[in-house]
């Protein structure tokens, strides 16, 4: 127990927690923002229909990414997952491009 408590006080542990907190908060929001943009442009129907679908999806992905950020095997993996997801969604949004009109 003593060894583990000591482990939890070290700078390595604090850095680990800080990295995951950032990944689970700002990172999760970033993924959500990219997903909102991708779905908004993917969404059929009018421009506003996509916006609504994208916004609804975005809220669902925030807790999912937050949980992932803390369950990933290490902080690098946590940030890796966040970066890959954000990149995929951003690329998708970029490839589709803004709707006509």
């Amino acid at each position: 127990m003593g060894a583990r408590a000591a482990e939890r006080r070290g700078w390595r542990y604090r850095g680990n927690v800080a990295a995951r907190v950032l990944a689970g908060s700002l990172g999760a929001y970033g993924v959500a923002a990219c997903l909102a943009m991708a779905v908004a442009r993917l969404g059929g129907g009018g421009r506003i229909d996509g916006v609504i679908a994208g916004t609804l999806c975005a809220y669902l992905v925030v807790p999912a990414v937050a949980v992932w950020a803390f369950l990933a095997r290490g902080p690098w993996r946590a940030w890796g997952g966040v970066a890959v997801l954000a990149a995929v969604f951003a690329a998708l949004a970029w490839m589709i491009g803004p709707p006509a009109r």
Partner: protein
């Protein structure tokens, strides 16, 4: 090893605790104020006990516009909410050449009622603006709601036995009892908790998640707004004065176009101008979705210049989720279930905050930081209700007709909560809890009585109006609950003292 804790459940429990601690106090304020907002019109009625006149919605709006035409003719807009089976006054927001003011207008005379107060609107605004300037309050509320969503999800994953917790309560066992209570409050109303958090985020979507709009509209916010409500008629002022045509025929025409459904809100843009626009909105009290249906009229002539009823599925989905949060469709038992769900969420947040401290105190003496957490718990969990109760007492004690009366009520509420918080930080929690809970009980017992309260009670009973008596009864119930809290805290203390004395003698 770079996991934060061994095992998925342990990590989730850790995250649940810290997310809860990070914004628990903000969430407590939001949940409590939101729960009270379920009865926003009823609170407004309790807070205007003399203003009992009633009139039909068409007559009331006509009276209001007549009064406004003489008293706020140069306004840029009158925004009126008609009375219905819950509210008897017209709720009006308008300007008289400066800032916008919010007033309750008498449905017969059209003039503002004497006892100027925000009424239930105070709790409603506090729920998502937190008495902070725009947009910071809404931002903080959004961040708190996103954190709550994560706290709910991690709370569920951390759970071993959801079903068994339905039936588990081990009273008087310290940490065990708080944990059982917290779990039961969270688990029993879990669908409500998830729904209300998710839908609450959506109500502030244009602020907290504008990225879909950015992707599809770029900087053109006006285009996005137009696509969301294509029926809105936006016409600049002509700069020439004109008088409004009688409004009652417009209201009746709008209701005819709504297929007989009643209107609830009326907005009049540039009312004294030749290009004034009267827009009448359908009430959403008879349907879950807050879907828009509106008819716009040319003000001076009363001719229809626009009509729109929302039927698009995506916008309809948004409107249903929005409507689920507002709960305006809920009547009777369902409204009380909204109240119960909100109360359970509030208590889940409060018990979670207490659990944070209790759990750590049973392991070892509290660290300095956790000592502060314990005192903040006393200051917020008892202090915020004290502020609310002081608000209600101020409403009864401040004389009607006082200048800036409504703002003074709010100031008293905030000051009372602030003083309670300072007291809680200054004294030890074992004194702070009974002291502040005792003050809360006193204020809740005073609110129905002070300032002619009993006369209003007798008058309401004579009219057969149950809003005021039921509110009084709820206040007494809160007082009793607070007194039970006082007794529990003080008895536990004398118990420990007795045990310690017993040990010393042995």
């Amino acid at each position: 090893m770079s996991a934060i804790r061994e095992g998925t459940r342990q990590v989730m429990a850790w995250l649940h605790g810290w997310t809860g601690l990070a914004l628990g106090w903000v969430l407590f304020v939001m949940c409590l104020a939101g729960t009270m907002s379920v009865f926003k019109p009823e609170i407004s009625r309790w807070m205007r006990p003399e203003a009992t006149a009633s009139a039909g919605r068409v007559e009331a709006i006509a009276a209001a516009t007549n009064w406004l035409a003489t008293n706020a003719p140069k306004s840029t807009g009158w925004y009126l909410t008609a009375p219905d089976d819950r509210a008897n006054n017209v709720e009006a927001t308008y300007d008289t050449g400066g800032d916008y003011v919010a007033r309750a207008l008498d449905p017969v005379s059209g003039a503002p009622v004497a006892r100027e107060t925000l009424g239930g609107e105070f709790f409603y605004r506090l729920h998502f603006e937190l008495e902070l300037p725009y947009p910071w309050g809404r931002w903080l509320a959004s961040i708190a709601a996103l954190t709550m969503l994560t706290a709910l999800v991690t709370g569920i994953i951390a759970h071993r036995r959801i079903f068994r917790d339905f039936f588990t309560f081990r009273p008087s066992k310290g940490q065990r009892s708080w944990l059982d209570g917290h779990n039961a409050l969270g688990v029993l109303a879990m669908p409500f908790h998830l729904m209300i958090t998710f839908s609450g985020l959506l109500t502030l979507a244009s602020l907290n998640m504008p990225w879909g709009i950015v992707a599809n509209y770029g900087n053109d916010l006006a285009a996005a707004y137009h696509d969301l409500t294509p029926g809105a008629v936006d016409r600049p002022a002509a700069g020439r004065p004109a008088t409004l045509a009688p409004i009652a025929p417009m209201l009746r025409e709008a209701e005819r176009r709504f297929g007989g459904a009643s209107f609830s809100r009326v907005s009049i843009a540039n009312p004294g101008d030749a290009a004034s626009v009267v827009t009448v909105y359908r009430s959403d009290a008879a349907q879950i979705g807050a879907t828009v249906a509106e008819v716009s009229f040319d003000g001076p002539s009363g001719r229809v210049i626009g009509a729109w009823a929302e039927t698009r599925p995506a916008v309809g989905t948004y409107a249903v989720i929005y409507g689920l949060h507002m709960g305006r469709f809920a009547n009777g038992v369902l409204r009380w279930l909204y109240f119960l769900g909100g109360a359970m969420l509030t208590l889940a947040v409060a018990s979670g905050m207490i659990l944070w401290v209790v759990k750590r105190r049973e392991r070892a003496p509290l660290s300095f930081g956790n000592g502060i957490v314990e005192r903040l718990n006393v200051g917020i969990l008892a202090g915020v209700p004290i502020g609310f109760a002081a608000f209600l007492c101020a409403n009864r004690l401040l004389p009607p007709g006082l200048i800036d009366r409504a703002q003074l009520e709010v100031t008293i509420a905030l000051d009372a909560a602030g003083i309670a918080l300072l007291v809680a930080l200054a004294v030890a929690p074992r004194l702070g809890w009974p002291l502040l809970l005792g003050v809360l009980a006193l204020l809740c017992l005073a609110a129905p009585i002070v300032g002619n309260g009993l006369t209003y009670l007798a008058q309401a009973l004579a009219r057969g109006d149950f809003v005021l008596p039921v509110t009084d009864a709820l206040l007494v119930a809160v007082a009793v609950a607070a007194l039970v809290g006082v007794r529990t805290v003080t008895r536990r203390r004398s118990d420990t003292r007795r045990t310690m004395r017993g040990r010393a003698m042995a």
